[in-house]
């Protein structure tokens, strides 16, 4: 009897995991309280259907708070952003990678290629994973029947989206020009000062040599 009880208790322990693995990625997103905007975004695009189907995916799901910050950063609102399904689909395609990858497997990579063909850089920082240099994994390894879901604290912005953010920002151009001006003027002034120094020393030595020759001549005579 005792082994049966132990077996039953063991089954009880793994039951939630096995039950969750029967759920697809969308069902897992729905079950998480903090992913409602991500779920809405998926539902607005074809990704809502794709992630219910067979196949293996790795999904990075940003929290509602992450979306709020991203909208602020992109100087837009949720309504405005959702009004452009193409842009929304493009943003989401930066959060889905073909093939199922657990956190352990991601740790072994330096970058992965999401559906949007622009690589997603992976760094390790004090045992934590950092995606795209800024997004931390809050909760990883949520297993689904068709892949893995990792909850992240920042919306992953591909270069295009990021560029829109800084489109009117002159600061990087000004910084670049200032550094170029510094390098060129530094080199030119070093040339100028070296030139002056060498010129002056040549003139000084010439006059000394001449004077020495004159002294020598007068001594001999």
């Amino acid at each position: 009897m005792r082994p049966f009880i132990l077996l039953f208790l063991g089954w009880l322990c793994i039951w939630p995991v096995s039950a969750q693995e029967d759920a697809d990625l969308i069902e897992i997103v729905v079950a998480e309280n903090d992913l409602s905007i991500f779920h809405e975004a998926l539902a607005e695009t074809d990704w809502g259907l794709t992630l219910t189907q067979d196949g293996q995916f790795t999904v990075f799901a940003p929290t509602d708070e992450a979306f709020a910050r991203a909208f602020e950063r992109l100087e837009t609102t949720k309504e405005d952003f959702f009004a452009h399904p193409d842009r929304l689909a493009s943003l989401l395609s930066f959060h889905v990678v073909a093939g199922a990858m657990s956190l352990e497997e991601l740790r072994g990579e330096t970058s992965v290629m999401p559906y949007r063909r622009s690589s997603l850089v992976i760094d390790r920082q004090d045992d934590e994973l950092l995606l795209n240099r800024e997004a931390r994994v809050l909760q990883g390894d949520l297993a689904a029947s068709n892949g893995w879901l990792h909850i992240v604290d920042t919306v992953l912005l591909a270069p295009g989206e990021f560029a829109i953010e800084i489109a009117d920002n002159l600061s990087f151009l000004v910084l670049g020009l200032a550094v170029v001006a510094l390098l060129v003027s530094g080199y030119l002034s070093s040339l100028f000062w070296r030139w002056r120094l060498v010129n002056r020393e040549i003139a000084l030595l010439r006059s000394r040599i001449k004077e020495a020759a004159r002294n020598d001549q007068s001594f001999r005579s």
Partner: protein
């Protein structure tokens, strides 16, 4: 000799001044075109750094190629003037390579979301700069003048490999993030753009300024300075002997 005559004898010939002024005008026009004439794409204003970034690399490549030519001529003839030219090529090339590196890093911050990464193109660029910086160290480390010149010539010839690799690596490695301006970019390239006619004209003017006139002008002035330094050295010896 009067002071005015001496000044005249020491000052460089008119064509040297002419070339310098031409370079200043072309660089000024190129700079104004980059800021006010050329359009930008969705990258925004930071994309305008490209008109300095790419031409300065080709300017560095020209200077390093002149070093190779001068080094070969030195090894054949043992004429000091070629050694002088090789040194000048490395110094000017290094300045332009640094400008290329720094403008690239500043562009990458908003476009790649990082100042630096170990992309194959960036890695080779760093190797190239360190290799040419070591050229100066090598010269300083060898006391015997003849040996120093001979070693530096061989080093100057071999070092061009790093510049060629920096140039062609984006055609060899498919995993580079660096966009190509001529021809298709690698699949993973980030920050590519289609050059409109205004962009192409602006690029041409800046190529003329940064990749041709500026290196030549800087090298000519630096060469004269090198000549003067050597003259000074001779005078010092003369003085001590006297």
């Amino acid at each position: 000799m009067k002071r005015s005559e001496r000044m005249k004898a020491q000052s460089p010939p008119l064509r040297e001044h002419g070339l310098t002024w031409l370079a200043i005008v072309v660089l000024g026009v190129g700079f104004a075109m980059a800021l006010f004439y050329a359009e930008t794409d969705q990258q925004g204003h930071v994309q305008r750094l490209f008109y300095i970034h790419m031409p300065s690399f080709f300017g560095a490549l020209l200077a390093f190629s002149i070093t190779v030519y001068a080094s070969l001529r030195y090894l054949r003839s043992r004429d000091v003037k070629w050694d002088r030219l090789a040194v000048v090529g490395v110094e000017v090339g290094l300045l332009l390579a640094l400008i290329n590196l720094v403008t690239g890093a500043i562009w990458a911050r908003p476009i790649w979301a990082t100042w630096w990464n170990w992309d194959p193109r960036l890695t080779w660029d760093a190797i190239m700069i360190l290799t040419y910086a070591a050229y100066g160290v090598l010269r300083g480390a060898i006391e015997n003048v003849e040996t120093r010149r001979r070693f530096a010539a061989v080093y100057g010839i071999l070092a061009i490999f790093t510049a060629i690799m920096t140039l062609i690596i984006i055609r060899i490695r498919p995993d580079t993030m660096h966009p190509a301006v001529i021809g298709p970019s690698a699949q993973e390239a980030r920050g590519s753009f289609d050059a409109s006619p205004t962009m192409q004209i602006t690029l041409l003017v800046n190529l003329l300024g940064w990749a041709l006139l500026l290196p030549i002008v800087l090298m000519r002035w630096r060469y004269r300075l090198q000549q003067m330094s050597e003259r000074l050295e001779q005078l010092r010896q003369q003085w001590f002997e006297a």
